[in-house]
């Protein structure tokens, strides 16, 4: 059967498709709230039915067939779960090495994959009166630290991609120095992929700085660099990412998030 590509999709739908396709089958995947939740569900419904989702509130390996959870702690995360205690148990098994991949979002990122989800404004000086106070770490920083790998999903805008973060909530490769994570006492290997509304990005093996891997439909190397507040490494083998299929967009719109809880028509800033 030939694949049919969708011609009408939003950038949020694109990012969910890109995120889902990045997830390998049969791995234990610790999913943060928001778009990761949608992408993991899409992956399960397409190429990766053997994914074992873990939610920080306690559910391990549930079937997500009862509707999109509106929270990583709600009833829909618990259906046919294979383990179900609480937050401590979920994070402990992650610290122990049972979570292959952490799948998280963030509001601001730097070239080393460090993330900010705490505040915009001068830190530490204006901590008590930030320009914008964000919701806070939640479990994202724990996943970034202790899942064996992390995949980051975020909106691609210049103001979100900065050489220096306002506040480091979730550690990536820290200052990029050799073995920086090991030396800091971290156990996971760090971010492998950053999936944005414009590109698939990775990290250079030596410098640990962000590099472009693939351009999403409608984007070019130039448009992506222009939307990034720091210089990206652009290897020779950058490729164009395969567009969403009709089936993928159908699943997102009709099956996974019909009410548009996480996948909005437009992205609010």
């Amino acid at each position: 059967m030939d694949k049919q590509y969708a011609t009408d999709f939003t950038i949020q739908e694109m990012i969910v498709v890109a995120g889902a396709r990045t997830l390998p089958d049969n791995k234990v995947i610790f999913a943060g709230t928001g778009l990761p939740l949608v992408a993991i569900t899409l992956a399960q419904l397409t190429h990766a039915p053997g994914i074992v989702p873990v939610f920080e509130a306690g559910a391990v390996g549930p079937s997500l067939s009862r509707g999109l959870p509106l929270s990583v702690g709600d009833s829909r995360t618990t259906n046919k779960a294979n383990y179900l205690l609480g937050l401590n148990s979920a994070f402990e098994l992650t610290q122990r090495g049972f979570a292959d991949i952490g799948f998280i979002g963030g509001a601001e990122i730097d070239p080393y994959g460090n993330l900010n989800s705490t505040m915009m404004g001068a830190f530490p000086d204006n901590y008590q009166s930030p320009k914008t106070r964000l919701p806070g770490s939640g479990g994202a920083s724990d996943m970034a630290c202790s899942c064996e790998q992390t995949i980051i999903i975020m909106v691609h805008e210049p103001r979100r991609f900065n050489e220096k973060l306002n506040y480091v909530t979730s550690p990536g490769y820290l200052d990029g120095s050799p073995n920086a994570r090991w030396n800091a006492g971290l156990v996971g290997q760090g971010p492998q992929r950053v999936i944005t509304t414009k590109a698939i990005l990775g990290f250079d093996d030596d410098t640990r700085r962000m590099k472009l891997i693939a351009t999403l439909p409608g984007e070019t190397v130039r448009s992506i660099q222009d939307a990034t507040g720091f210089k990206l490494i652009i290897p020779d083998d950058v490729y164009a990412f395969e567009p969403p299929t009709v089936e993928e967009i159908h699943l997102i719109r009709e099956v996974i998030d019909p009410k548009g809880y996480f996948v909005k028509k437009t992205i609010k800033n």
Binding site: K131, Y167, G185, L186
Partner: protein
């Protein structure tokens, strides 16, 4: 070291001296809040975001008013938003002084308008932790340990904004974080089922409710259903909080509404956005809808039963329908 709530040595002494006998602990919600929650308390809040949050207890705290509260929790939505709304309306009646926390927002329902409002206007003393940090701090408290080690978030700026210490592990010679125990003055917890002595049976994620209850000096529990003690102890493996960690038990059906109580009711996807929207208006400077909301749904009602009377029946039916299933032994409602 600056302790909020009780220090580990104070908490140990408090619990050791306590009457731990098995006795009827039913009280009215009014009396429980009156007796166990004081101005200046550090309150440990159960639930997770908008699931099994102790909404009815929070409404009663708001009705009675309390000053200079410290709120300790990992991720909260409604419980903290309701307290914040009361503070925005009248700081003389109720105010939050400090928060030790990881996340305040509503996930799919959006960010917290009142958190932005209070934080961006320097109204709160904030201590940043991760979800695991706060869960582990309660766990250390529940275990009677002054601290617990943790591997995250080493390398983050949070360490500058909290009381964790980084030390070299004496066994592996690698850095490790030590998190100070949390011992709130009082835990407020909503569960599906409890007996009159305070034993609690939880369905679905436990969140960090058992640890918060065991760590705190006092614990107030509301439950959707009060069940017979004989039924409770037929399944001892199902008891998540033992009676001696509980000081007051109140049967409050819909005690976590409009949030989710697993196997009892789902989120009210209509009421939560409505409440959030009046909060958003307040953030933007228009307090009238917020004031109306509080007068209608909190100050204008005596208790949760009267609060529920104000909710259209079709909405209540809908949140129950989503979670309906077969009620089996050992307190399990299984959706087929």
């Amino acid at each position: 070291m600056h302790w909020t709530g009780l220090s580990p040595d104070e908490a140990r002494k408090f619990t050791a001296d306590k009457n731990k006998s098995k006795r009827d602990k039913r009280k009215s919600l009014h009396d429980a809040v009156q007796e166990f929650i004081n101005d200046g308390d550090n309150i440990g809040i159960g639930g997770f975001v908008n699931s099994r949050q102790p909404v009815s207890i929070v409404h009663e705290i708001i009705r009675q008013g309390r000053k200079d509260l410290t709120l300790s929790y990992q991720s909260a939505g409604l419980a903290v938003e309701y307290l914040a709304g009361a503070m925005v309306l009248n700081e003389e009646h109720l105010n939050i002084k400090r928060m030790e926390f990881a996340y305040w927002a509503h996930e799919a329902f959006g960010i917290s308008p009142l958190f932005r409002y209070l934080a961006e206007n320097s109204k709160l003393e904030l201590e940043d932790w991760s979800n695991y940090n706060m869960s582990a701090r309660f766990k250390a408290g529940s275990m009677g340990l002054p601290f617990i080690p943790c591997r995250s978030p080493l390398g983050s700026d949070m360490i500058q904004r909290n009381r964790a210490k980084v030390m070299e592990c004496p066994f592996t010679q690698r850095p490790i974080m030590l998190l100070p125990a949390s011992h709130p003055n009082v835990a407020i917890i909503h569960v599906q089922e409890a007996d009159i002595y305070g034993n609690c049976r939880i369905q679905g994620p436990l969140f960090t409710c058992p640890e918060i209850a065991m760590a705190s000096a006092y614990t107030i529990v509301t439950c959707d259903r009060l069940i017979e003690h004989d039924d409770m102890v037929r399944f001892p493996n199902r008891i998540s909080i033992p009676f001696f960690a509980v000081d007051a038990v109140v049967e409050v059906p819909f005690g976590s509404y409009p949030g989710n109580s697993h196997g009892v009711h789902y989120f009210d996807e209509k009421h939560i956005p409505e409440f959030r929207s009046v909060c958003e208006q307040a953030r933007k400077g228009d307090y009238s809808s917020l004031k109306d909301y509080y007068e209608t749904f909190i100050f204008g009602v005596k208790n949760t039963a009267r609060f529920m009377d104000k909710i259209p029946f079709s909405q209540v039916q809908q949140v129950q329908k989503i979670e309906s299933g077969s009620r089996l032994d050992a307190g399990f409602t299984v959706l087929e």
